[in-house]
Amino acid sequence: MSDKRALRIYGAPELNCPTMVVGWGEDVGGLGSGVTDYLIKKLGCQAFGEIEPEGFFPLSGVSVENDVARFPESVIYFCAEKNLVVFKSNSPRSDWYRFLNSTLDIGEHYYQTKEVYTIGGMVYIGAHTSPRHLVAVANSPEMREALAQSDLAMDINYETPLGQRPTLNAFLLWIARMRDLAGASLWVPVPFYLGSAPDPKAWRKIVGFLDDRLNLELDFRDLDEEVLRHDAKMAQLRSRSADVDTCIHRLESNIALSDAENEKLVSKVQEFLESKD
């Protein structure tokens, strides 16, 4: 169900069958917001519309994060030079079908979007030093075929386990399929102990793919430096804490940790990454 009343469009950029990239604010490893923020900044994307929050988010007040009041945001940006539309939003809390249709309306109705990519992180029980594979799920055999030439892990078979729910990206991808719009969701495994902090290595993986696929010609030096800084910080933590080093070493050797060890590792890494030094 489309609902153009939910959309507020305040620009009219010149785009021709653009590609759309969608990222959500609440995501493992800060992937959704990290990647969309990076694209917006590096490509100088401009906002040209948004989805009004009413009906999709509880509007009983505001949340405060890091001393600042926050409000749900669902903003659409464009980069005419790269023929790209970037949608960055908080995850809606209700009326998802109408919200996701409105999301696709933005690009498809006004500019006949060609393809849509969603971004997501998935928690995995492994070490941050292990190689990361970019995983993709297509929403049609044609899209799967088109992506087969890229360096992606696509041999995925999955069913939502009982008691869990599909992701918002799966829902969006399914709606795109119903609308005959080619799409794929891109996933990077994020070590469980980095899930609540930004994981630049995971961002780099997705941005690298989008750069190749969409000919964005991005200069990654800043992100590569960020990855090195993050790696150095993790190495510093390992050298300071024998417990953390032992746990990560065991993960590197494919030895499972106990629940208590998992919790302790998450807490120590989070505390360290949030510290100022």
């Binding site: 169900m1 509880p58 809390r93 998802w96 899209m143 729910r165 599909p166 829902f171």
Partner: protein
């Protein structure tokens, strides 16, 4: 947002029986048992995507091949004495994390169901749910009945093992029915359609547990079968209730003795008598049971 009718049943003045999951799944177990016993046939559904978040994604070899949603289906059965329609929802449409249906989506769904009821000439609606009561699990659950018009009160009084709100001590005929089982009653009233909600009693101390309570479903099913003047085989639900009784009894034996002593007082209460447990006692018992289920595992 809409309804898909796969097959148009030829029914005459049918009765609609609608329900959703709720406390102890009392209503949905009863209605689904009735539907199953009669062999009712599916004829339509409410399109789910406007109401529900999907429940399952299926990915095969890197391709998203299916997304499943909670179902909201219509069934029908022509019986010798009357035609029946069923509506069974797998979930209640909720908004922003609320436990039970309320707000715009719930109202829309209630109206869609009654649109279908009206389209097929339905003259009566039953809904079914749970009534949380200060009763003991060893006593036969009664059925609380709430009609949506005064005209139905005498009829409801004639149902066996059934009580009206005014017959429950301390209620004075007042109360609330949360969720769609209640909302549908109100929307039916607004549209001039007779409706009755029948709710099986569940002991107050079992309301928060994630178990079904088929003992009360059996009471509801008996009332529905009598009200609809149909005979059904009760063997299956009786067996389900018996197995559940055994599990609850085993759980009860694990409660600390001081909680059990308090709860045992409920065994003696007769219908419509004041509860032997005060509100203060009730709150304390619920807190103790909550603690009992949340307690940390200890090593011997």
């Amino acid at each position: 947002m809409g309804v898909r009718i796969h097959k148009r049943p030829e029914v005459e003045n049918p009765v609609l029986i609608a329900c959703w999951p709720g406390i102890g799944n009392i209503g949905v177990i009863a209605v689904d048992a009735l539907r199953g016993a009669l062999g009712a046939e599916e004829f339509g559904e409410i399109e789910p995507w406007d109401f529900f978040y999907p429940k399952k994604v299926l990915i095969r070899n890197g391709e998203l091949t299916d997304l499943e949603f909670p179902s909201s289906k219509f069934y029908f059965k022509k019986t010798e004495k009357r035609d029946l329609m069923f509506f069974i929802g797998e979930e209640q449409p909720t908004e922003a994390g609320r436990a039970y249906a309320e707000g715009t989506k719930a109202y829309q769904m209630a109206n869609l169901i009654l649109d279908v009821a009206a389209e097929f000439g339905c003259g009566r609606v039953y809904t079914s749910g749970a009534a949380v009561a200060p009763v003991h699990h060893s006593s036969r659950p009664r059925v609380w009945a709430v009609p949506n018009t005064d005209r139905l009160i005498d009829e409801v009084k004639g149902y066996e093992n059934t009580i009206l709100m005014s017959e429950i001590e301390g209620r004075g005929g007042q109360g609330n029915i949360t969720g769609l089982n209640g909302l549908l009653l109100g929307v039916a009233r607004k549209r001039g359609l007779d409706a009755i909600c029948v709710m099986g009693e569940i002991p107050v101390y079992l309301q928060g547990l994630p178990f079904p309570y088929p003992i009360a479903s059996k009471s509801v099913l008996e009332v529905l079968a009598a009200a609809l003047d149909i005979e059904i085989d009760m063997q299956e639900i009786t067996a389900f209730a018996a197995s559940s009784e055994g599990e609850i009894e085993r759980l009860y034996e694990m409660f600390p003795s001081e909680i059990r002593d308090q709860l045992d007082k409920l065994k003696t209460v007769a219908p419509a008598e004041p509860s032997p447990i005060t509100e203060e006692d009730k709150q304390k018992i619920l807190e103790d049971i909550d603690k009992f289920f949340k307690r940390e595992p200890r090593e011997d």
